[in-house]
Amino acid sequence: MSEAHKITLATAWLDGCSGCHMSFLDLDQRLIELAEKVDVVYSPIVDTKELPPVVDVGILEGAVSTEEDLHKARMFRGRCQFLISLGDCAVSGNVPSMRNTFDLDDVLDRAFVENVQAQPGRPSESLPTLLRTVLPIHHVVQVDLFVQGCPPSADTIWQVLTELMAGNTPDPTQFTRFGA
């Protein structure tokens, strides 16, 4: 397949542990097969700094937890033809959303004051503003496909991508579940 016909793929890591990207890398030798059909144009695993204006498939890992996450989710939705919510954090909020039951001030104090010995105090710059509530991605932008799992296995990601490349819409509930 020529370069011109390659599917463009962008991925981003919002509020999560990056385990979904680790699973993506766990494709191992299948990454070579994937690279023949897919061009990764933006991702934590490539050096590109800017999301291209038009991308075929976007994959978002992690929940929407900060203003920066919200901006990225909206940017991905605006530029990606097909948007995948990958992993439990993206699909349900998962572990990051467990802070939702606490007051945000208490959360910040816990992280930056109570548990810190050297220079305790909330950072005033260089950190994105936390949203009051952590949200799944589809609660802020429209999502085309949901892939559950914490993280989804490499086999799950492979099945989703190969089905998409074949022009089919996969049903991830057939091979993964919440908490997998």
């Binding site: 799944p136 509930t173 908490g179």
Partner: protein, 247 residues
């Protein structure tokens, strides 16, 4: 020597009825529920609050089915069969309703599967996969419920409770202790021990652990179990229920 006839009452006569479930002709006793008949004939109807051996509660509504001539779906666990019934267990409407019920359950409390001790051994999690619930469309409530670790052996995490009342029923009907009960209404409904006292202070709890074993989620667990370690075994309930009936 001939024995006089037993003075016991003769067993009540139960009529046999014939009906159709998903176009399969089935026969059953008229006292059987639709769910029992379906299970006896290998027809799967999703259910959560129902447990063989315990009384029927009919709370979760996941087992709802359509009956020809009925305008609304009915719960299969609490509806008995009648002659000539035509039942549908898996229509598009029922699938839609079941998925919505599961979404509401997931949104109501904290059901983060990945950090749950029952991950991989949870009936709610399995039902979500079975019913194709790949995401929750309604807003999460993010409500805070308490965790009671006061018991020496067990823990109750109300965040993960679906208020199926299996624990209440097994404690009352099988163990005979009635430590568990239900308090509150609507989303504020929750199971309690004794008069909403800490489980560890309970005078009635026998520490038998039946409630833990029948709990479908990670709400009732053994202490010391890590994520994914808590496996439940509720297969003793039908046996004990049978033994009770024979006494």
């Amino acid at each position: 020597m001939t024995h006089p006839p037993a003075a016991t009452n003769p067993a009540p006569k139960v009529r046999v009825v014939t009906l159709k479930i998903d176009d399969h002709d089935v026969g059953a006793r008229e006292t059987d529920s639709i769910l029992e008949i379906a299970q006896a004939n290998g027809i799967r109807i999703p259910s959560l609050c129902y447990l063989d051996g315990l009384s029927t509660w009919g709370a979760c509504r996941l087992c709802m089915v359509e009956i020809e001539g009925f305008s609304k779906p009915v719960s299969a666990c609490s509806t008995t069969a009648t002659e000539g019934m035509k039942i549908t267990t898996n229509s598009a409407r029922l699938k839609r309703y079941r998925r919505m019920i599961l979404e509401l359950l997931f949104a109501e409390r904290n059901h983060v599967c990945s950090v749950c001790v029952s991950n991989g051994h949870c009936e709610l999690q399995d039902l979500a996969a079975e019913c194709g619930m790949d995401h929750v469309r309604v807003p999460y409530r993010n409500a805070t419920y308490t965790i009671d670790s006061s018991h020496d052996l067990f823990r109750v995490d109300h965040n993960r409770c679906v208020v199926c009342t299996r624990c209440v029923r097994v404690c009352d009907e099988i163990e005979g202790a009635h430590t568990w009960d239900v308090m509150g209404r609507g989303v504020n409904c929750q199971v309690i021990t004794d008069l909403n006292q800490p489980w560890g202070d309970s005078q009635s709890c026998t520490s038998c652990g039946k409630c833990v074993q029948v709990c479908p989620t990670g709400a009732l667990v053994k202490k010391g179990t890590a994520a994914g370690e808590m496996e439940k075994h509720d297969d003793f309930v039908p046996y004990l229920a049978q033994m009770r009936k024979r006494q």
